[in-house]
């Protein structure tokens, strides 16, 4: 039975999970979820060591790594992906990437209906993603992107369907959604805004089951920044990658991408 380590530092909440996969789903062995704004780097590796030790296991027992690729805090995404790559490379085990918003959505797998996840992108913008939850399934409906909260609220109001919204974008923009969407919207409690170790494992299990988690190659798992820097846009133009106008490629990935689109 392969032991999976899952981690995400894209939000202010550090999430680490340890588990295994069965044909039915992810089995959780243990998790550490800490509210550590701007301090995930300090806590990430000690949390992994503590979690592994508390399960009476050793780090070298880890057989595969799952990482939340973002979008979210720019520095946080880089810390998580870099650390996950280092661990997977060092152990010589596969690395699989999942979307951070997909992992947050997994926390609502038991419900039925539309789910909107909004993550704070700073500068009065959010990373929004829509999911459909039904019968324990979580299906992503929209690609990675960045947009002002007012635009997203208008779009989601136009769906004309009850919607649950979660994510740390609510800390600043809850009013925007309630004002625009009225009775159609219900806002998730703050405790449900971030990924957890368990949710990361669930998202990893679902992505692998759907064949969307890649082949485990450490080199091809890339961060989702969504908002490309000018330098990356210029590089894309130089290297002849088309379809990127400086806004958001569907993959949100900078660099040589082999990406599964939702």
């Amino acid at each position: 039975m392969t032991l999976y380590l899952a981690l995400d530092t894209s939000t202010e909440e550090l999430a680490v999970g340890l588990g295994s996969f069965t044909p039915e789903g992810a089995h959780l062995i243990g998790e550490v979820n800490l509210d550590v704004p701007r301090a995930s780097l300090t806590h990430l590796v000690p949390s992994i060591e503590r979690l592994v030790a508390s399960a009476d296991l050793r780090v070298r027992d880890i057989g595969a790594v799952i990482v939340g690729r973002g979008p979210g805090s720019f520095t946080g995404v880089r810390i998580g992906v870099a650390t996950a790559k280092g661990i997977a490379q060092g152990l010589g085990v596969p690395l699989y990437g999942v979307g951070t918003l997909d992992a947050i959505a997994e926390r609502f797998a038991g419900r039925d209906g539309l789910l909107g996840v909004v993550s704070d992108a700073m500068r009065h913008e959010i990373y929004p993603a829509l999911f459909r939850c039904s019968n324990g399934e979580v299906r992503r409906l929209t690609p990675h992107r960045v947009a002002p909260p007012e635009v997203v609220a208008e779009e989601w109001a136009a769906l004309g369907e009850p919607l649950v919204i979660t994510g740390n974008g609510l800390s600043k923009y809850a009013d925007v959604f309630t004002a625009t969407m009225g009775g159609e919207v219900s806002l998730a409690h703050e405790a449900m805004w971030a990924p957890t170790g368990q949710a990361l494992l669930a998202a990893g299990w679902r992505a692998r089951a759907a064949g969307e988690a890649g082949d485990g190659d450490v080199a091809t798992v890339l961060p989702v920044y969504t908002r490309l820097s000018d330098a990356e846009v210029n590089e894309r133009v130089r290297s002849g990658i088309t379809g990127s106008t400086g806004a958001t490629p569907a993959s949100g990935v900078a660099g040589p991408a082999r990406e599964t689109r939702p």
Binding site: S73, F74, T75, S229, A231
Partner: protein, 164 residues
């Protein structure tokens, strides 16, 4: 010279003006400083740090670009002098730092005027003579306009104390 100008006779007075600002700033405030080399931007931020209760040396961040000082509120001290393009602000996590609940002081903020937050306290430092400086605070939004008023009031109280 308008009544919204703070006139400082020497570097010590510029430091005192910064300390007055440090006593009235709140979490999330952004102070954008401009003025040529030697105008006293760093002296003002050193005063700001003292007003925030930062202990220890507050050097110019020209080399480091960003230095973080723990105080009553964290002080994020930027110097954008060495940055060449706005996208380099992404690499230093500029916007996230500004919105992370501390006080941000940005030297050479006028290098990237389009990248600054909508509501910020602009402080232009004019060199009047060898030692005298004129500080011109301008709030660009309701929050920073209030901060500018509170700073000027705190400074007048402080100079009243010093003179008396």
């Amino acid at each position: 010279m308008t009544e919204d100008t703070i006139l400082t006779r020497d570097a010590a007075a510029t430091h005192r003006a910064g300390a007055a600002l440090g006593r009235v700033v709140e979490a999330g405030d952004v102070i954008a400083l401009s003025g040529g080399l030697g105008a006293g931007k760093t002296a003002l931020v050193q005063g700001l740090a003292a007003g925030l209760g930062v202990s220890g040396h507050v050097p110019s961040p020209t080399f480091n670009i960003l230095l973080v000082h723990p105080g009553a509120l964290p002080l994020y001290h930027f110097d954008l002098y060495r940055l060449e393009r706005p996208d380099e602000l992404v690499d230093i996590d500029f916007w996230e730092t500004l919105e992370s609940g501390g006080v941000s002081a940005i030297e050479w903020a006028d290098r990237f005027p389009g990248e600054l937050p909508v509501d910020r306290l602009d402080v232009v430092i004019d060199v009047v003579d060898e030692t005298t400086r004129a500080l011109h605070p301008t709030g660009t939004g309701s929050r920073s306009r209030l901060l500018a008023r509170r700073w000027l009031a705190e400074w007048r109280t402080d100079t009243g104390r010093v003179a008396g």
